[in-house]
């Protein structure tokens, strides 16, 4: 790891000014579980590291009636998994957070840091896109909100401007007739990065599906929705055969990459399997 100057701002605005001043020569440090790896392997060698540990108040979770969860960007992943408000209002998010990486990483890594790093093989982006989440951003150009669906632009690339800082993640409240789940495929428990991640949120209308949002990630450069599979189910009476057909559409529609962790074909197969099983769980249907 190369030497760097550690800057310790006390507010998000001050941190943003530091990023503005040092531009590409600076990087933000939150929990550090991702950045430290990149620094140690010299993938990144910024002369300035802006450490957010002294910024207070960005690790709070609240629930606003009619609006949803507000999660401070510096909230640890372990706290997202354990927090009573998340477990109550969005069990899908709590359960996803409990699967990220491993216990030691969850103790340090922050939800905001995870999103801003833009690692394609990670769980939270996929889950939060399906939940319709957005991020609150502060920067030299003022505050704004970015829908997570528009946030990821490519491998490790986001829509953030150089001096932008994500301060909060907003997750809309579930409607009474909605339900959702997140699932992933890893080859062994010791593998910390999912090969495929799938999230499904639906609104039920009796046995039929009224509205749905699904996202696939970890296999693709950026997580994204699957519009063909989404519209296929709309208004249909859901059965095992319908879900099987929908899983085929999803596998066909996704654009997985090939790399040393899995070929495109293998990933497509795993997308099919995870989508089918997860959808069956969401609708409470027995499948083989």
């Amino acid at each position: 790891m190369r030497d760097f100057e550690l800057l310790r701002p006390e507010s998000a605005a001050e941190a943003s000014q530091m990023l503005h001043r040092h531009g590409e020569e600076s990087r933000l440090l939150a929990g550090g579980t991702a950045l430290l790896l990149a620094l140690r392997q010299r993938l990144l060698s910024p002369p300035y590291v802006v450490y957010l540990g002294g910024v207070r108040g960005l690790d709070k979770i609240s629930f606003v009636e009619g609006e949803g969860l507000r999660i401070g960007a510096l909230t640890r992943i372990a706290d997202v998994a354990d927090h009573p408000l998340v477990r109550k209002h969005c069990p899908m998010l709590a359960s996803m957070a409990g699967q990220v990486a491993n216990p030691q990483v969850r103790s340090m890594a922050t939800l905001g840091g995870n999103l801003c790093y833009g690692d394609p093989a990670s769980d939270p982006p996929t889950c939060l896109i399906a939940l319709g989440a957005s991020v609150q951003v502060t920067g030299t150009g003022g505050d704004r909100v970015i829908a997570l669906e528009d946030f990821f632009t490519d491998y490790y690339e986001t829509a953030l401007a150089p001096a932008d800082i994500v301060t909060e993640i907003r997750v809309p409240a579930f409607a009474n007739d909605a339900s959702g789940l997140y699932s992933r495929f890893v080859k062994t428990r010791a593998e910390h990065r999912p090969l495929v991640g799938v999230a499904i949120v639906v609104r039920h209308e009796g046995a039929a599906c009224r509205w749905r949002r699904r996202a696939v990630g970890a296999s693709t450069p950026i997580p994204g929705r699957l519009p063909r599979a989404e519209t296929f189910l709309r208004g249909k009476e859901v059965s095992a055969a319908v879900l099987e057909e929908m899983a085929d559409i999803a596998a066909d529609e996704a654009r997985p990459v090939s790399d040393f962790r899995g070929t495109e074909e293998f990933r497509r197969d795993m997308i099919r399997v995870v989508v089918r099983r997860l959808a069956a769980d969401v609708f409470g249907i027995e499948t083989h």
Partner: protein, 168 residues
């Protein structure tokens, strides 16, 4: 390169340490404070041999800067049993149930275990295996480790006043 003075409560004792910005927590513990029970294994956040407790939670000390521990309480394997020379019940169980061979991964696994059992004193084997997902052992094949942890959990429950766990 910037230098920083940090304050930590390390194994129950207040310490003031001056570290360069890029010093990793594992480096501070081993090289500055000579607490060599914490191991540097893969140094890429996979193996967990460097696991210590930061404010009672397990963390990988090779994946964080020493400065990130400023103002926090730290426990290493040396301080696991309050600094006494007695073995902690988890260490005793690892001895009795073949929880180690070469022993290099053991401090990290024991620190992970102790944080896990304090939250989940009556785990299933499956929960134990999930808790160990951030620790690698290249000798044992894990059966001995899992058996040791189940035995440690039993021993610790037996020595503590019984606490009912909801839903079990």
């Amino acid at each position: 390169m910037s230098k920083h003075v940090i304050h930590v409560r390390l194994n129950g004792e207040e310490q003031e340490v001056e570290v360069p910005a890029k010093r990793l927590l594992a480096g501070m513990l081993r090289d500055d404070l000579h607490l060599t029970g914490t191991k540097r294994g893969c140094e890429t956040g996979i193996c967990g041999a460097c696991t210590v407790h930061l404010d009672s939670r397990p963390v990988k000390s090779c994946l964080m800067l020493a400065i990130q521990a400023d103002g926090c309480s730290l426990t290493t394997i040396e301080g696991l049993n309050g600094g006494t020379s007695e073995l902690h019940p988890i260490q005793q169980a690892f001895l009795e149930h073949g929880g180690l061979q070469c022993g290099f991964c053991t401090p990290g696994i024991i620190m992970t275990t102790s944080a896990f059992l304090s939250r989940n004193p009556d785990p299933t084997e499956d929960e134990v295996r999930a808790a160990l997902s951030g620790n690698l052992c290249r000798c044992t094949g894990y059966s001995g480790i899992v058996n040791s942890i189940m035995a440690a959990a039993r021993a610790m429950r037996a020595s503590e006043p019984a606490v009912e766990r909801p839903g079990r």
